[in-house]
Amino acid sequence: MGSIKASTANRVTNLFLPFSGPPKGRSVHVRRVSTVIASSLLFVAGCSNSGVKAAPAQPAADPSIQISTSHCGEGWAHPAAGSQTLSITNTGTTTADADVIGVPGGAVYGELEGVAPGVTRSLPITLGQGTYAIRCQPEDGALIVGPSVRVAGSAKSGPAAVPVTYNDLYGPTREYQDYVAGGVKTLLARTKTLVAAVDRKDLRAAKKAWLPAHLAYEKLGAAYDTFGDFGDAIDGLPQGLPKGVHDPDFAGFHRVEYGLWHGESAASLRSPADRLLKDVKGLKADLPNEDMEPGDLPLRAHEIMENTLQFELTEKADQGSGTSLATASANLDGTRQAVEVLRPLLKSRYTGLPQMDADLDRVQKLLDAQKHGDSWTSVAGLGTSDRESIDGAVGDLLERLAPIASICYPRRTS
């Protein structure tokens, strides 16, 4: 895997499945371990305990609620209001998930994933007056809803949301893929302009063409191995390469950027430029063959800007052009796209949406203020106050984007 940190994911999900070639270059876009499909995607291999015989159910700590095909929700003898910790025991024979849901409506107040047979786990939860039930999801079987229980009292319940299903995510995912496909066309056209300038040895024109082409890529919202090895090839950084900027595997936009802004000759730049064009063409050609994992889309909502904060606002990705804030702005476009396609799902589920929108606008405004015609203030050139404003606004935005991944995590409801 082309990443700085060795990923320990045994179920890495790429937005597009990576093509299988030897890893080239290194990307700082470390894909975080995704557990999205751990239980929800049908029977993914991995740590499945299906088939493992259940240990005899331990005498349940008082009170322990059972999850199993035959005893789902049994044992919830004294439902109470307030902040509390429920004890959940899997008395079945297969690993199962457990939800505490509101009845009717099915809003989830709390969930436990992957409770192995014979295991008791605690579920901290806050319940208010209302009717609830335990929903059991055996890994290899149908979903079962346990008996309804009434909770009396005046306490306010914790926040809940109606689950988002895989089905719900297919439409948004298709929309996002269409956006990416359109963006890749722009990317290719602009990369051709850049490479043509290098080919005719017009480095001034090449410098001018570099940013629009790079931004076309950054707008796609690539983050965390989104495009698999194409991401490394097109937008990899020298960090993690043994010879750094002089490493033969340093390729893509940042390689060309390094040359353009460090006095490299057109002749010498030709090879990296051509290689970039080849990889962009490769990405475009590969897109129709790749299906985006719907469960990854909600992660994109905050991961794109996580990368922006980590690599652009620190100027770590910059190889001389000083355009990190332009990249940040393009990343914000990509983020908006991810949010927009998910918005219909979020409207009824995410109470922080208006503040998130305000934060998107705020970051946009702060970044726009650093654009001067075709040029941008470099991060190093920002005054303390401007830098703090941008960092703070992006940080706040991230706090408000992060819940999207939790809320839109694909879950089964039937």
Partner: protein, 409 residues
């Protein structure tokens, strides 16, 4: 913008963090009754609510974080929201309890580094405001504490702007670093859009070696002659702002805070003879006694030594506190911590003092003292490089009030 309630800070269902629910309060109460005593002899941390902020007079804990923030809140209402959020977090973090459960609607509300049930009574927290908060951004000029200015550059200073000043100050104190870091992480999470850390220094206090006042990193007992914080009349006279003209009324119960980040050139110091060191301080290094006395609490008898033959006239203690009727009202309440932040570029230890002191009047007290200390022999071995002047806000009296009081007045 309709639908946007102006609250830029994470609150409500999204992330109130530690539950303000019935259970949370109950947990806090339970903890308060059985407050963990960090060390034999260390008194329990006072409750958050009170007329004064607890961290001003209460004995120092073992660890601290001192930080200054620049505020980016967008207008006065947002500033009030920011201070309300800060209050909410302070209240929750000091009282402890089980963090709010957010189900599937968000990542966990708490970092979890203190476990699933946050211990209460382990944290002290002191919030201050800098003169810059009263500039034209928020229209608060008329509410500025009358004696609050920007910290000037003193003759022996070598100030780094990146380590100076700030719109807000925050001092966290606890006996363990994880308690401090948990609190700072939580506060930052809830206030990112409204303020950013401008500078931050971690510090520690030393245990008595072997008894009495703690030693600084120059090996001398430091803070022996502090006013007695248990005497209310003394504190009224030296520490608390009165809220009487020319001070705005809201300042009553607050106190002016000076923070000075002072590098100590300890390698150089260690190459200085003991006799010279003791003459610079005016105290014996081993016992802490004034050079004309036997015990650290002995009062130096300057009237018997008018020429400074025993305790030199330019020694630190004699300049800092000449013990004359004329200089008595310049005494300050010191609350120093040591810092250690690694090595410098020539391989020396980058260590020193986070000097903090509280007073009623910056000019009458700290600045008068500082003027007397100008060019004292000790200045060759220390280098003040940062800090600032702040006004530590009055205490939050009860759960219906907040640090935002002076903004909303």
């Amino acid at each position: 913008m309709s639908g946007y309630d102006r609250r830029m800070f994470l609150r409500g269902a999204l992330a109130t963090g530690i539950a303000g629910s019935v259970a949370g309060v109950a947990a806090g109460k339970a903890v308060a009754e059985t407050s963990t005593t960090p060390e034999a002899g260390a008194p329990p941390i006072p409750p958050f609510h009170g007329p004064h902020q607890a961290g001003i007079l209460a004995p120092a804990r073992r660890r601290t974080i001192v930080a200054a923030f620049d505020v980016m809140a967008d207008g006065r209402d947002d500033l009030a929201d920011l201070l309300q959020t800060l209050t909410d977090r302070a209240r929750a973090l000091t009282s402890g309890g089980i963090p709010e459960q957010v189900g599937i609607t968000a990542p966990s509300s708490d970092s979890g580094i203190l476990g699933p049930d946050i211990p209460g009574g382990d944290l002290m927290l002191t919030v201050g405001v800098g003169a810059s908060l009263f500039d034209d951004r928020y229209g608060l000029a008329s509410r500025k504490p009358s004696r609050l200015t920007r910290m000037p550059t003193f003759p022996n200073d070598d100030l780094d702007p990146a380590w100076c000043h700030g719109d807000l100050s925050l001092q966290l104190e606890a006996d363990d670093d994880d308690t401090l870091l948990h609190a700072l992480r939580d506060i930052a999470k809830h206030t990112r859009g409204g303020m950013q850390v401008r500078w931050r220094m971690n510090g520690f206090s030393n245990p008595p070696r072997p008894t009495g006042t703690q030693r600084n990193l120059l090996g001398f007992k430091d803070g022996i002659a502090n006013p007695d914080a248990t005497k209310a009349a003394e504190m009224d006279r030296r520490v608390w702002a009165s809220g009487k003209a020319p001070e705005p009324a809201w300042t009553a119960g607050g106190s002016y805070l000076v923070v000075r980040l002072i590098r100590m050139l300890v390698e150089f110091w260690d190459r200085v003879g003991l006799d010279e060191q003791e003459k610079m301080f005016g105290r014996a290094k081993d016992t802490g006694a004034p050079l004309d006395g036997a015990h650290e609490q002995d009062a130096p008898q300057y009237q018997n030594d008018p020429e400074g033959l025993v305790i030199p006239l330019d020694s630190h203690i004699r300049r800092a506190n000449p013990r004359t009727p004329q200089t008595d009202d310049s005494r300050i309440l010191r609350r120093g911590f040591n810092y250690d932040r690694g090595m410098d570029s020539v391989g020396n230890l980058d260590v020193g003092l986070i000097f903090t002191c509280y007073q009623q009047d910056l000019q009458r007290q700290f600045e008068a003292t500082q003027k007397r200390l100008a060019d004292e022999p000790l200045v060759d071995y220390i280098s003040p490089f940062g800090g600032g002047y702040f006004f530590a806000l009055p205490g939050v009296q009860d759960s219906s009030r907040s640090f935002a009081g002076f903004v909303k007045v």
